[in-house]
Amino acid sequence: MKILRKDTFVKDITILLLVGIVVSAVFAAGFAMATDKYFAKAVTGVIGDYGEYDLLFQGREELKTALARRIKEVIAERFPGATLKPGITVAGKSTFFVTLPSKYHTKEVFDNLDYYFKSLPGSGSFSIMTEPKLHITSIPSAIFDVIASEVEKLPGVDFTFHDGSNMGVIMKSSKVATEVEDGIKQILNKYQILEVRLEKGSYSSEDLLTLSKNVSQSLIGIKGIDYAKDITMSGSSGDYQYLMNTLSEVKKFLLSYAAEVKVVPAEGQTLEVGDLLVLNGKNEKPLKAGGVMEPLNVVVKVTSVDSSGVQGLIIQGDAEYLTDMSAYKLLTNDKIGSVVGTVEVSSRKAQLVYAMDQGVKLLTKLDQAVEDYNNSTGGAGLTVSGIEKAYKQLVQVKQALGGMKSGINGLTGKVDNSSLSKMVNLISGVGDDLDYLAKNFGRVQILENRFEQALNGLDTAQLVIGSPMLQNAFSGTGGVFDKLVSLNDQLTSVEESLRSRVQKLDDFINQFNPLVSVLVSWRNKANAFAEQVNDFGAVFTPGSENYEQMMDLIDSTDEVLSGITGFDMDEVKSGLSVVTDRIFGSDKVDLSALITELEKVKNSLPNLLDEEIGNSVELIDKYVGGGDASTGDRIQIFTKANVDRTVVDAAIKDAVGDSEVGISTLPAGTIQLDVRGELYKILGEVRSVIAALVVTILWILTFILDHSLIISMLKQMRFSFLPKHVDFRSGLMKKGYQLIQKIFSAANLYAFVIGGVWLVMTFWLAGAEVPYLQLWHLGIIGGVLGIFISILAEKINPINQDEIMAGLSLGLPFKTIMREIVIPAGRPGMLQILNRWKMQLR
């Protein structure tokens, strides 16, 4: 112990450490720099100088002439003045560079490059190299334009363009690169994408679509949120997602239009998804087990089997072809199996068409009825004025009757002839008017009746057109949906006004019905009386039949008159005018326009057979993947970044209906360097990793060659900082102490400390880096590796104890023993090289 502390060999080790660390670091850094230089040169060789080229093409070597020819053609046609230069050929791929004159550096050109250079020979592809350029990656396609328009407003930005699913940003100069980058960062930071992670597999893509729409709609209206866009189906992969989105909408539409086939399995029969069933359709020979299926049979594929029953889809034929409902199982090779159940088919398509047809028919009738009534009679108003007229006439009849009665000779019973003939004339005139009145009244009744019928028809039509099933089916399909909704609205208002008119007419009829019937019976009486008087002479002896009849007529005239008098003509009139005005005057419902509309909708319905629907759905399923959400089970909402997350999260959880659902935030996009910057960045990483590699190799070398010898020496000397002998009573404690002594031996401590320090220092000096590792990590790694070396030290670098003993016996100091005996006998390394300066016996 004393020896080591006092001897200057410690200095030797210190020198070894310093020199070792510095040399290693310099070597590692130098090596890394050299590789860096080499690569950088290689990069320039491969992709040209900064801003030199605009487009880099690559394609298979065999077809490079074809590729070059094609590029030349496009250039000649679209970009006169552009130059083409062949690049290197690596690994069977040839490259070409194109430089575009600066007039082609525009958004339009760059956005269309894909189109200009489509289907290049030799699986050729190209990338845009124009500099200075930045990339913004992972922008969902649905918000691309939002971001692009803001980015283009930045002062240093020339234009933006679609580069695959990324946004390319061409800057005006490389000097503004950092400003532009900061600007873009600020723009991106204004927004965020809220990602709601749903339980896996719990939503089909259709459900997911609906849910995500609901979620985004639930957010709008919350205080402080003026912007929430559902971008669930427009992941960063853009067009593909749009296609998926559209396809699942189409599928949704088709399914709601398809015939709904419910299969009721026969006793003991179980059906599985994918089973095929055959039914009798337009086929000539009826189905028979063991036979072979015909093209005109109807075939149903089982699409779902669950607690709600077995559902199917017609994939051959149409629901309307069905002639009976027994379903036979379809076996392989179109063989027909036994009956496995029956089907219940409700063709929504047929229902819809029926409803439309019905609507058109009804509305046409209604229109005609109204027209009729309007043209021929002038409406219910005539009835009222007819009654008024009748009243006046009846008063005259009554007066005439009164006059006649008073003119009767008490003895002879004879009446004054002139008053008699006046009365008869009066009565017959009243009779004609009353006939007309009755006819008019009948028309009102017919109108009411027609209205009533139309109402019932409308109910049915509306039931179909306004049904949630249909509304859902057509939601999101644009034209058809909008038409249906407006149709439904118009039908509703037609129905409402019809209903109120029917009510009014009903009231009118109910009020006038008794009156009209009284009038009609009076007229009959009066006619009979007038006839009798005419035929048999006017003898009204009191008690005679004539007299009795006259008295009776007077009575009933009184009765009629009092009935009419109790009737408020003005009120009835104004009530009726409302009815007539609203139907025939300033009414907002234009029935004929509505009819045209309905016919148009009917014609715009797809003229599809159920088999066409079924096969399309199958095809879509194949493409979209069985209806499972291909986007994964997540919803993405694009919002501003400054929204109150607690409120938003609560709203989302509420809309999803799951308070546990995870919500995370994604950036609206990520800035990326251009190709060259990217390459240099990678090169930088490569350099530091290479430096790290070299440093590590040098560590291993120096520890195996040099430090292991020192460690061996320390072990040989059983050097320890702990007291050698401590008196323990228990043998166990003594053993324990010995173990601790062994573990914390000077050799191990040296190995750990020097191992760690060496690695950290060289890493730091060489600028070496290993991803995810910090310097203190490296310190520990170096220490642990040191311990490992320490364990093996005597095997790696054994020390000849005998030689040391000889040295000691000759009175040599420790440092001399090390320099002249131990180190020269050890492995050749840095220690030996340094030692040669001091060694005397070479």
């Binding site: 030689e803 000889a806 016996s809 000759l810 040599l812 016996l841």
Partner: protein, 243 residues
């Protein structure tokens, strides 16, 4: 007195190697230490130049209290105490000459002089013709003679031998014994020799010391201790000699 050892104790852990050794050796005297294996012979002579540190006791060499020296002085003191090892302990990378000249040079002598003296020392042990050979090119006997020359070159006042022939082939023992006898007969250097070579001991020793269990049990001129031993060990050697 060239060497005085008083009350020397040494423990290895709980194992007692030396249990109070007292020994005095006069200048020019040749003392042979004998005893069974493990009795503490090596420990005793290694304590003399403190290749092994004694736990207690005094060692005085040429009037200098070795056990009281600090490191620099100890190193200096070791130069006058030659040591010959059982396993020769030559520096493998160095030639015979360098092995012998090494200490001289490292102690400051210039190369010429050191080599000259080394050559003389090697000549003395009969290896004047094998100066350039490396240890692995020499026979065991030759190697041990280089070891002897190395000790001699420093012109020590006292030479300590720890079983110098024990690891040699029997046919090679003779040449080493020969050199030893010659050195003894010169009588210039005080010798403390640990050996089992009975005949050599009888011929060359001024005094035989028997050790047993870390202690000196008998001491006297060979003709007395071999003829009329008093210790148990002595009697054993006596019987060995008779057979």
């Amino acid at each position: 007195m060239m060497l005085q050892i008083h009350g020397l104790y040494k423990n290895y852990g709980h194992k007692r190697a030396l249990n109070g050794v007292d020994l005095e050796v006069a200048r020019g005297e040749t003392v042979v230490i004998m005893g069974p294996s493990g009795c503490g012979k090596s420990t005793t002579i290694r304590c003399i130049n403190r290749l092994t540190e004694p736990d207690a006791g005094e060692v005085i060499v040429g009037g200098q209290l070795i056990t009281g020296l600090d490191l620099p002085h100890l190193l200096e003191a070791r130069r006058k105490i030659g040591f010959v090892f059982q396993h020769f302990n030559l520096i493998q990378r160095l030639s015979a000459l360098d092995n012998v000249a090494m200490a001289l040079r490292l102690h400051g002598m210039d190369v010429e002089e050191a080599n000259g003296r080394a050559e003389i020392a090697l000549g003395k042990v009969g290896l004047g013709h094998k100066l350039r050979e490396k240890p692995n090119e020499l026979s065991g006997g030759e190697q041990q003679r280089v070891g002897i020359a190395r000790a001699l070159a420093l012109e020590p006042e006292i030479m300590l031998w720890d079983e110098p022939t024990a690891s040699l082939d029997p046919i090679l023992v003779g040449e080493v014994i020969e050199v030893m006898e010659e050195l003894v007969s010169e009588g210039r250097t005080t010798m403390v020799i640990v050996t089992h070579e009975l005949s050599f001991a009888r011929r060359a020793a001024d005094r035989i010391v028997f050790m047993d269990k870390g202690q000196i049990v008998e001491s006297g001129p060979p003709e007395i201790v071999f003829e009329q031993p008093v210790s148990e060990i002595g009697r054993k050697y006596q019987s060995l000699l008779r057979h």
